[in-house]
């Protein structure tokens, strides 16, 4: 994972704007819980091979969650709307957005990626590549490589497919490696790795601070 701290920071950066007038400390706490919760599959990894980045790190969770929120808030007897009103509805949608982009999205592009449509297909996928405009080659993108095998004539598509739950293990502090090595275990809790992760950590904090220092909206000042 890009570290949990980075997930949280990006989630806050998104939540500050998207919560809008429902922005408050409790809503932020919910967002934080939502963005950290998928890491619990690291614990599931102790009993199920390759569970981390699989069980809760699948886009299926986003699709199901979005469906449930849509259905729940649009029926007559909506519990969420009845109990929490517009606040609850907004928070639920922000949670789905943040889970999808700040957590799954960033993990998709990191290390072995995520098991993207598990349990439908057991296949880790990593988003890797670049996109540029070249004066000699035109538009070049390397995220999805489509090639035709010269011998068989078959088309192959490489979108960064990796292994399956059987042979993919993404290291976590809970389970640093699949087959324990002799000697002391090094459990690592990364806070930030690489300039960009520290950058987002600081930018998330900046957004929270900025929001706190801001004056009240126009209506009251004019």
């Amino acid at each position: 994972m890009p570290t949990s701290v980075v997930h949280a920071a990006v989630a806050f950066l998104l939540a500050v704007g998207l919560l809008g007038r429902f922005y408050d400390r409790r809503a932020l706490a919910v967002v934080l819980a939502v963005v950290l919760f998928p890491e619990l599959d690291a614990a599931v990894g102790l009993v199920m091979d390759g569970a981390h980045r699989t069980v809760f790190h699948t886009l299926s969770t986003s699709v199901v969650a979005a469906g449930v929120v849509y259905w729940e808030t649009n029926r007559k007897e909506s519990w969420l709307r009845g109990r929490w009103g517009a606040y609850g509805v907004r928070l639920a949608w922000v949670a789905v957005f943040v889970h999808t982009f700040a957590h799954l999205g960033l993990d998709w592009a990191h290390l072995s990626g995520i098991n993207i449509v598990w349990p439908l297909v057991d296949q880790f996928v990593t988003l890797e590549g670049e996109l540029y405009l070249s004066s000699t080659e035109g538009v070049v993108q390397t995220f999805v490589d489509i090639a035709i095998d010269p011998e068989t004539g078959q088309q192959t598509v490489d979108a960064g497919q990796g292994g399956t739950t059987a042979n993919t293990h993404v290291s976590t502090p809970v389970q640093p490696s699949k087959d324990p090595q002799p000697g002391p275990v090094d459990r690592r809790f990364p806070i930030a790795v690489g300039g960009w992760q520290l950058y987002f950590l600081l930018t998330g904090a900046f957004a929270l601070l900025g929001r706190k220092l801001q004056s009240t909206p126009a209506v009251e000042e004019n």
Partner: protein, 207 residues
């Protein structure tokens, strides 16, 4: 280098977070442009002015802008900006300056491409890169800032010795306009694109 597209995407995210009641298409455009402006210094080098990631990436520019804005809105009897554009204008101006610094300069500073942050007082490029990890075996591992004789961050060189690749100054004849360099950058760009309609919906709901 972190592409300008990424800078603008981060700028859009910061704008969505901080514009608040001043959020609309126009203010978002202003903020997005503010994020992109620093990268113009690469184009200026083609005219022989300054250096890439230096001239407009210097910390003095947002500092001076913030100072001017503060003076205008807090120390003058009649603020020009507030008189002309009201609360909206003041908010957009502050967010644009913040975006210039955070997205326009910050994204490059925290990458290997690096930024001559104190240009023209200093010609040195700085890059804040490294890692910060807590390990049960090695304790706290922190390599962003070397704390020895004073504080030091990584530096690829000075204006004389270090060259920033860009469309304007290609390294080997091939001009290349980088749009996205890696997976996480693609995710940030897509996130920003998705956040705009989301914020427009939110804005409608908040009225």
């Amino acid at each position: 280098m972190p592409p300008t597209l990424l800078t603008v995407a981060v700028g859009v995210l910061v704008g969505i977070a901080l514009l608040g009641a001043a959020f609309d298409r126009r203010s978002l455009a202003v903020v997005g442009i503010a994020a992109a402006v620093p990268d113009v210094d690469a184009a200026l080098t083609a005219l022989g002015v300054g250096a890439a990631n230096a001239t407009l990436h210097a910390v003095w520019i947002p500092l001076a802008a913030a100072g001017l804005l503060y003076y205008d809105t807090d120390h003058r009897d009649r603020s020009w900006l507030r008189h002309r554009y009201g609360w909206y204008g003041v908010r957009v101006a502050w967010v644009a300056i913040a975006t210039y610094a955070v997205a326009g300069i910050g994204v490059d500073l925290f990458s290997t491409e690096s930024v001559a942050l104190f240009y023209p007082l200093s010609d040195r490029y700085y890059a804040i890169i490294g890692k910060f990890v807590l390990s049960t075996q090695e304790g706290v591992v922190q390599t962003y800032i070397e704390i020895g004789n004073g504080w030091e961050v990584a530096s690829p060189g000075t204006i004389e010795s270090y060259h920033v690749d860009s469309w304007w100054h290609p390294e080997n004849g091939e001009r290349r306009l980088q749009l996205v360099e890696s997976g996480w950058q693609a995710i940030i760009v897509v996130t920003a694109i998705a956040a705009i309609p989301a914020k427009l919906l939110v804005q409608r709901g908040d009225r």
